[in-house]
Amino acid sequence: MTLLDKVWELHKVATLPNGQDQLFIALHLVHEVTSPQAFQMIEERGLPVLFPERTFATSDHIVPTDSKARPFSDPLAEEMMAALERNVKKHGIEAFFPGSGYQGIVHVIGPELGLTRPGITIACGDSHTSSHGAFGALGFGVGTTQIRDILATGTMALSKPKVRRIEVTGTLPKGVYAKDIIMTIIARLGVNGGLGYAYEYGGSAIQALGMEERLTICNMSIEGGARVGYVEPDEKTIQYLRGRPFAPKNIDDVAPYWLSFRSDPGTQYDDVVVIDGKTLEPMVSWGINPGQAIPVSGRIPSPQELPPNERDTAEKAYKHMKFFPGEPIEGKKIDVAFIGSCTNGRITDLREAARIVKGRKKAAHVRVYVVPGSEQVDAQARKEGLDTLFRDAGFEWRSPGCSMCLAMNPDRLEGEEICASSSNRNFIGRQGSPKGRTLLMSPAMVAAAAIAGEVVDIRKWEI
């Protein structure tokens, strides 16, 4: 049995008449943007939230990152925030709002509070719920109708995915990060390559990663089309959770149970992909989906080099990005740099970026935002003096939220600006300007680009 099989069986309530499984959701995370309509729908039918004790809320998507003073300057943001405050109060749901010390991007705070843990099912109305798989959990991103169902029934209807084992062997070269592993996987297997699959990440290069790096990998599983992504829990998982506010106090008693969520030796996977870690390079996206990415030393592919079904999107990408086939990505000028998001807005990401920024200054023409993923990350970074370090380099230090990952708050691109971004999506318009352009890369690469004013190869730097 795979880890997926075990967690699935454990949480399966019934087989439904349509053949799907009814899966119990052990942890439901709620945020301000996708929940109001779901709450409304259960209220219209007079249904209660069935398991408020398994439901937790935060606000992240629309909160401004300059001032959290209420009311927010954007009336819509204020309306969403007020609706969530009303709903959690009415239904007895614990919430972590700005000022609580625990607010942050939902996929950052789950692990950081010890809510996320091995062997459970987690759902949230955000695609990147796959992040939580880093702890050996199954994290499902869901839509409004499913949020309604989970609120009302604690369960959802799902078809069991197949499992693809992705084995990353060897050790990573210097300057290559978790972000580069997952961007390589998506570039190789395609943005639809994971449809119908769960991705199980393993191998020595994955085992060597810390928990926050594993979160980065699982986070972007969804960008490769996979329903969920996970890593089998190990000692690092237990250590990370030890002492977290919601983690069990008797963690050593629980550890053997948690560690039992592993794929059995000799398990037959539906598919296996092996990637040699030592051949990996820093990755940069050049197009309009996360699969359109190349090693920083590479050139933008020409349509002939691509499979026929990717050529249309490539043509759209050249047009939108104003890039030409054959051009190198290194040296592309940038206007904005963004370090943050649920992919790379955790303390280890900020530390790595800080290591590169230390003693340097940003390029004069570049706007740079550093947005910590949560209030806890913010506090820790300040304690370590990272906020000052970034400010001294001319970077703007903001307060926690999704910010420029999706630009539902005032942080956004203008016109055709190009942004080096540590987030997970480079879709047209994603960063707030219909003509804006996004280059995805690791936080270290973003920091270096902010300093150089253009895309650089971090491996060439003394760090």
Partner: protein, 206 residues
């Protein structure tokens, strides 16, 4: 065991009401509900914005459109053209129509995701031939008070004037309406005892 609040609300064997004609082909979801209204935090007020950009000019003055026509006010069966609901898969599009009072849509064909999203909120999408649609639209335009009866069980459509035609629909969806299983919340809650048992077996989060 069914949840007390959900008793018998889910089975839909037929839909009755007056028709509202909108005979264009390829009406996409952006036209049904313009993107800027997706931001609303509840579905409640969404009905007022169905087809907004076609019903009102830039100053907000009403244009000529079936949804502005008093003869069709209160109508609940939309008579639409082929490939209705194409474009982006937004759940808001069927919601906007539902909140505008629509309870079933009749068209020669539907975009697949739109039909799925409509089914999920209990709004049947039934297909008739283009020829029958033309006749039906003529009947309704000539006499807007014509009552339409869609019988999902027998797959027929009958008007109060006695005209009738066969209807077709995705068998899976039809079954879902006849059994009440379109309503995923109700289907899941039917296992309430099993859910509670599972919850008790699993470790708590707190």
């Amino acid at each position: 065991m069914t949840h007390p609040n959900l008793k018998n609300t889910s089975i839909i064997e037929s839909v009755k009401g007056r028709g509202i004609p909108l005979a264009e082909n390829d009406v996409d979801t952006d036209r049904i509900i313009p993107a800027r209204y997706l931001k609303f935090i509840t579905f409640e007020g969404l009905g007022a914005y169905a087809f907004y950009d076609e019903r009102f000019d830039e100053q907000g003055k009403p244009k000529s459109h079936p949804f502005n026509d008093p003869r069709y006010s209160g109508a609940s069966i939309l008579l639409a053209g082929a490939n209705f609901g194409c474009g982006s898969s937004r759940e808001h599009a069927p919601q906007a129509l539902y909140r505008a009072g629509i309870r079933a849509i009749v068209a020669p064909s539907f975009a697949e995701i739109f039909a799925g999203n409509s089914t999920a909120i209990g709004m049947p999408t039934v297909m008739v031939s283009s020829l029958h649609l033309d006749t039906l639209i003529t009947l309704v335009t000539q006499n807007p008070s014509t009552e339409i009866h869609i019988d999902l069980k027998n797959k027929t459509l009958t008007t109060s004037s006695g005209w009738t035609c066969p209807v077709d629909m995705n068998e899976g969806y039809r079954k879902a309406f006849l059994e009440g299983s379109w309503d995923s919340t109700a289907v899941l809650l039917a296992n309430l005892e099993l859910i509670r048992k599972k919850a008790a077996e699993l470790p708590s989060i707190r």
